[in-house]
């Protein structure tokens, strides 16, 4: 197994043949390629499994004796500059590659079924493996230029996959938004890379760290410039990981197919920002303000994501905001310097969130047949409810994912989140309080999603009970276009959920979906219920469920030979030295239990509140009256209602941040474009045309003057003679 590290450059290139072949096939022999269809999916999965085995092997090596392998080839050499390509294997790389491949494989298996009816099945698989290639390239890259290259490539894959259903205008807007927002981050990243190159003259991580440390030690660098460069580098991570100022693309990115949301926008690509910061932590750690900035951005994102997730109707958007919030936790952990906790949370969150997304995809898949193929409907939690009976396996998977994310003990996220939370006490009490309370919020919104989706009765049919006869409801048009429905607002608490949705008309669904609708309309009856998805979809969910259950174990210390060694610590041994604080919290088991109890109780409080508010109301109509009468009493309640309304309003409008951006930035850029266009047309082009027109008039007048009329010439002659005479007269006298 000694050779494994020598050949590990192959890791990113293993999945590459598939997109190339599919792309060529689709362009040159479309029919033949399309006929093969599923034939393409299997090699995809196979190749990714090979990579997984490879990276497992690598990480076993890392556990046994962690060492860093690096190898570079020259890419382009010139007299003045040389770029190099290579790979860099350390514990971080091995963790990330295992993560990418495992989630990737299950998502691929899942999407075989999920996308099976789509016309773009092959395109989807090509994009997916292109993404896997570039993501693996990103984690194995050995210098900043390579990071930048793959950074952009994953962004492009994300762009393509968000805009996968390109007939939907929403998807078209979302993918452009995602790309441009990410490009702002890339802008920072590139400038940061250039800045550090200017300071140190190197791109290679290890040289860079070494030279930079020397420079800092000798006080040879301009402090402000370094801080600027570091924050620019961090901006790349902010955009990719959907941190506070640049998070706007992530919720919109949910327009893409759900497997994509699971793989790219929950587990892997959004973690690339965390990866970058973790990779460059030796650099950031010597610049103190940057660490504070990172943790500040992290904590803002934690809180913002959690509050924005509170009132989302779209199940995937809710999960997206939750992803954002959890990424904020990781960023916070990195900013605090607890590298280990951040990576641990990265792993656990990736599996849990992938599980959640796959489960939600399964729900969407089964809801689509009933409510129609527009994402406004199939993903709308307003129409869901009571799915527990109809999709039991999915329900279990979703519940496990939810509990894990809430931080309920035996599940994965508990361990990592607890670690972050207890570390945050050591860092700053204010941050700790925010982080703890957000843990409660997390539990609240996750359970809100769970309860709305799975408890109670199916709201689609509940329409009928609620008095409003929406007769048109069952005749959903092919295009998913439909007259507006106002959902019954008889119930006091229900408006909280619906708010002002339905205000905007449903956008027209994709043409492709429309076609599929025809095929599925066959069994659509007045009272159809959602069906459980196929085994192909359930299998990866179950595997991920197992991961969610047990992945926390890698950080549970098992006492061996008197030392508490868990796998994760073993993996991260060299990096652990970087922490400026000791990670001996686990030593004190009392402390651990205290923290754990506290966090679990907060999570339970959140869950309880969610139960109180979103308890399936019509299953207990009697209680509802009670609740209603209770609600209406007293001015305090009104105040509380107002508060709640305020929060929901804030959350429903996405914190007004999107609106602010669209007003300030989009309008600004549009205005600038108009202005320059006007300037270009009227001023610069105007001068040119003006010169043309003037010369035309001059020519015309000359033509008129030189019209070969003798009398006119004589007149001119006489006039000039006269003028001459007058002048000479004045000069003489």
């Amino acid at each position: 197994m000694e050779h494994a590290d020598q050949y590990s450059w192959i890791i990113p290139f293993v999945p590459l043949p598939i997109p190339i072949l599919i792309g060529m096939g689709l362009l040159l022999f479309p029919t033949a390629t399309k006929n093969l269809r599923r034939m393409w999916a299997f090699p995809n999965i196979l190749l990714l499994s090979i990579v997984m085995i490879f990276s497992l092997d690598l990480s076993i090596q890392q556990i046994n004796g962690s060492s860093i392998y690096q190898y570079v080839w020259s890419w382009t050499i010139n007299n003045d500059f040389s770029f190099e390509f290579g790979y860099f294997i350390d514990s971080l790389t091995s963790i990330m590659s295992i993560l990418i491949t495992t989630v990737g494989i299950f998502v691929l298996i899942y999407s075989d079924n999920y996308m099976s009816h789509d016309e773009g099945y092959l395109r989807f698989f090509a994009y997916m493996s292109l993404f896997n290639t570039s993501m693996l390239g990103l984690v194995t890259s050995c210098n900043l230029i390579q990071i930048y290259i793959f950074w952009e490539l994953v962004g492009m894959c994300s762009y393509l996959l968000i805009g996968f259903w390109f007939t939907r205008p929403a998807a078209a807007n979302a993918c452009q938004k995602a790309f441009v927002t990410n490009r702002i981050g890339d802008f920072g990243l590139l400038l940061g890379i250039l800045g550090f190159y200017w300071i140190t003259g190197s791109f290679e991580f290890q040289d860079l760290f070494e030279i930079f440390n020397n420079l800092i030690y000798n006080n040879e660098v301009h402090f402000l410039f370094v801080t600027l460069c570091a924050s620019l580098l961090f901006a790349g991570a902010v955009a990719k990981s959907a941190q506070f100022p640049l998070h706007v693309w992530l919720p919109d990115a949910m327009e893409g197919p759900t497997p994509i949301s699971a793989l790219i926008h929950a587990a892997t690509m959004v973690a690339a920002g965390i990866f970058l910061v973790a990779r460059l932590l030796p650099l950031f750690i010597v610049i103190p303000y940057i660490m504070n900035l990172i943790s500040l951005i992290g904590i803002i994102t934690v809180l913002l994501g959690a509050t924005l997730a509170l009132a989302q109707n779209d199940i995937k958007r809710g999960l997206a905001y939750s992803t954002m919030s959890q990424l904020g936790y990781m960023m916070l952990a990195l900013g605090m310097g607890s590298y280990r906790a951040a990576l641990f949370h990265l792993i656990t969150h990736a599996y849990s969130k992938a599980l959640l997304f796959l489960a939600s995809g399964s729900i969407i898949h089964s809801m689509e047949a009933i409510v129609g193929y527009s994402p406004e409907k199939s993903q709308n939690m307003v129409f869901m409810g009571g799915l527990r009976k109809h999709v039991p396996v999915t329900q279990i998977a979703f519940l496990v994912g939810t509990l894990s994310l809430c931080g309920i003990p035996p599940l994965a996220c508990f361990w990592s989140k607890d670690e972050i939370l207890s570390d945050s006490w050591l860092y700053s009490p204010i941050f700790a309080i925010i982080a703890w309370s957000t843990a409660g919020l997390t539990a609240f919104y996750m359970f809100r999603i769970y309860l709305l989706t799975f408890e109670g009765h199916l709201n689609v049919h509940f329409q009928k009970y609620s008095g409003k006869k929406s007769s048109s409801f069952y005749s959903i048009k092919l295009w998913g276009k439909e007259e507006q429905k106002i959902i019954n607002r008889n119930f006091r608490l229900f408006p909280l959920l619906t708010m002002n949705n339905n205000e905007q008309p449903y956008t027209i669904g994709g043409k492709k979906e429309a076609r599929i609708t025809i095929t599925n309309f066959g069994y659509k009856k007045a009272f159809s219920y959602p069906h459980e998805s196929d085994n192909t979809m359930l299998f990866p969910m179950l595997i991920l469920l197992l991961f969610t259950l047990f992945v926390g174990a890698i950080a549970i210390p098992f006492n061996q030979e008197g030392m508490h060694l868990d796998i994760l610590s073993k993996l991260l041994t060299p990096s652990i030295n970087l922490l400026h604080q000791n990670s001996n919290d686990f030593e004190d088991s009392y402390q651990f239990f205290k923290n754990a109890t506290f966090s679990v109780s907060i999570a339970c409080f959140g869950i309880f509140t969610a139960f109180l508010l979103y308890k399936p109301f019509y299953s207990s109509v009697q209680n509802l009256n009670l609740l209603n009468s209770f609600v209406k009493r007293g001015p305090k309640r009104i105040l509380l209602d107002k508060m709640i309304y305020l929060i929901y309003d804030w959350s429903y409008n996405r914190g007004y941040i999107d609106m602010f951006y669209s007003i300030s930035l989009t309008k600004g850029i549009r205005g600038l474009a108009e202005l320059t266009h006007f300037f270009d047309r009227r001023v610069i082009d105007g001068i040119t045309n003006g010169v043309g027109i003037t010369s035309f008039f001059v020519g015309e007048s000359v033509k008129y003057l030189g019209g070969s009329r003798i009398s006119f010439y004589l007149l001119l002659y006489l006039v000039y003679v006269f003028i001459f005479l007058v002048i000479s007269y004045f000069i003489l006298f």
Partner: protein, 500 residues
């Protein structure tokens, strides 16, 4: 060395073979098309052969040189020769012109003349890239304008006469300055006119005179390149011309300006260039931002692409102005890379225009379903245009960035500022190019009109776009293809700046 006159043959072959077009029997357009494409391919093969076997990359001097006395009393020579700087553009010319003739197959009106003009332009362009004599360079430069003018004024959109006139006036206006410069350089000093590049490169002038010469040449090349504010002919011309003409314009003609800037302004007038280079960089940076934001405001598809190529020219100017090895290499790489990308984008825009018959972007939409292949190629190439890594544009822009960063001529603050503004252009580029492809292809279309069925791109169009795409990605993955051509020469040019 063998003295076979390769370059003369290469320069003369297209136009002489093209003039035979008029003697071909009137048997329809097919014969003409095939004849032209065969000539183009033959020429390309000949060029490649000559360069493969008679060009040594490690030699920065002129190779394949030819020297015949043409006009005796004036000391005017027919001097041809290539070096690392010109081999790239010549190969690009051959490649793009061949593909443009292939792209011009739908042209039926006066196709005999059209193809002849294409071939004449081929000759003119190769001639101006390979001439080693200042006056010959000027003659070739002017010679190549005539076919472009005719191509613009006879084939294209409604306002083609306006734009052709604008083009010819602009370029002729620029040529006046070029002629002044050429004569000034040639007649300065000695009794006999010296027009040879080699002797001129070693000559030194009083600073004021050099600056005047420099300004003259700069104006001429700024019109061609184009550099703001002399760019307004370009969007009009590109908006109106037939797309194969656009391919030639965007792919090659714009590059002649940049080539001349390196060849004459940098090589012959080094002192003035080092005085002017900060201004060049400032103008280039402004151009990137200005053209990118103007591009956003365009409704016309082709004009939008045209402004995008103006914006990309900014990188070339910055690379030339940076006076570093890296920067100049980046500029040359950008010349080649944008030659491919710009040509491909115009081609795809033109082919999709052939189907949609819509000019304005906001009228389009939902084309992706009916023409998926064009959609694919267009998205790939707009990605290439926004400098996605793995494509040639990225490498070129990156190297230009490094050129600025490593430049020893400038201080830290201006460098930071320039880099910052250039990078803002990096944000603006995806906004216009992606919104272009979004407006064209994304979304849906209610197919009201019964005749709104479009043919997807056929094998010919697919061949053209893929064969442009391959070098784009090839250079992107392994940029030494181009850098190895120009590296030695660039070093020699820059040698003058540091040791003289």
């Amino acid at each position: 060395m063998n003295y076979f006159p390769w370059l003369t043959i290469i320069v003369f072959l297209p136009i002489s073979a093209g003039s035979l077009l008029f003697f071909l029997p009137h048997k329809g357009n097919k014969l003409i098309k095939w004849y032209t494409i065969c000539i183009c391919i033959l020429e390309l093969l000949l060029t490649t052969y000559a360069f493969c076997y008679h060009f040594r990359l490690d030699d920065p001097l002129i190779q394949l040189a030819e020297d015949y006395k043409w006009i005796n009393f004036f000391d005017f020579y027919w001097r041809l020769g290539i070096d690392g700087l010109s081999i790239g553009p010549i190969l690009l010319t051959g490649f793009i012109t061949t593909l443009a003739t292939l792209a011009a197959w739908p042209v039926t009106r006066d196709s005999r003349l059209f193809h002849f003009l294409m071939l004449a332009m081929y000759s003119g362009q190769i001639g101006s890239f390979s001439s080693r004599d200042l006056l010959l360079f000027f003659i070739m430069w002017e010679f190549e304008l005539i076919p472009v003018y005719l191509l613009l004024s006879m084939w294209g959109g409604k306002k083609r006469l306006y734009s052709a006139t604008k083009f010819i006036l602009y370029t002729a206006g620029g040529s006046v300055f070029l002629l002044i410069g050429v004569l000034g350089l040639g007649l300065y000093g000695s009794n006999e006119p010296t027009l040879n590049f080699e002797t001129l490169a070693n000559q030194s002038y009083p600073v004021a005179l050099e600056i005047i010469f420099y300004i003259g040449f700069l104006i001429a090349f700024a019109v061609k390149s184009p550099i703001i504010p002399l760019h307004t002919w370009l969007p009009d011309t590109h908006g109106e011309a037939h797309y194969s003409t656009c391919m030639l314009l965007a792919g090659i003609l714009l590059k002649m300006g940049a080539y001349g800037l390196v060849r004459i302004n940098m090589e012959l007038l080094p002192h003035a260039h080092s005085i002017f280079s900060p201004w060049l960089i400032i103008v280039g940076t402004m151009q990137i931002i200005y053209a990118a934001s103007t591009s956003l405001g365009q409704r016309n598809l082709k004009k939008r692409i045209a402004y995008s190529s103006v914006s990309h020219m900014g990188f070339i100017i910055i690379g030339i102005g940076s006076i570093t090895d890296t920067g100049l290499n980046g500029a040359i790489l950008q010349i080649i890379s944008h030659g491919f990308i710009g040509a491909a984008l115009f081609f795809l825009a033109g082919t999709s225009y052939d189907r949609m018959r819509l000019v304005y972007l906001d009228e389009m939409g939902g084309m992706a379903v009916s023409i998926p292949k064009i959609f694919t190629m267009f998205s790939i190439l707009s990605m290439a245009s926004l400098a996605l890594p793995g494509m040639s544009g990225f490498v070129a822009e990156l190297i230009v960035f490094f050129g600025i960063i490593t430049s020893q001529k400038y201080f830290l603050m201006p460098k930071i500022l320039i880099t910052f503004v250039m990078a803002i252009g990096m944000i603006l580029t995806p906004i216009y190019s992606l919104s272009m492809s979004r407006q064209m292809f994304y979304g849906y279309k209610l197919f009201n009109a019964p005749s709104s069925y479009f043919f997807d791109s056929g094998p010919r169009e697919l061949f053209v776009s893929i064969s442009i795409f391959l070098p784009v990605i090839g250079i992107g993955i392994y940029p030494d293809f181009v850098l190895s051509l120009s590296g030695e020469k660039v070093e020699t040019i820059l040698y003058n700046y540091f040791y003289r």
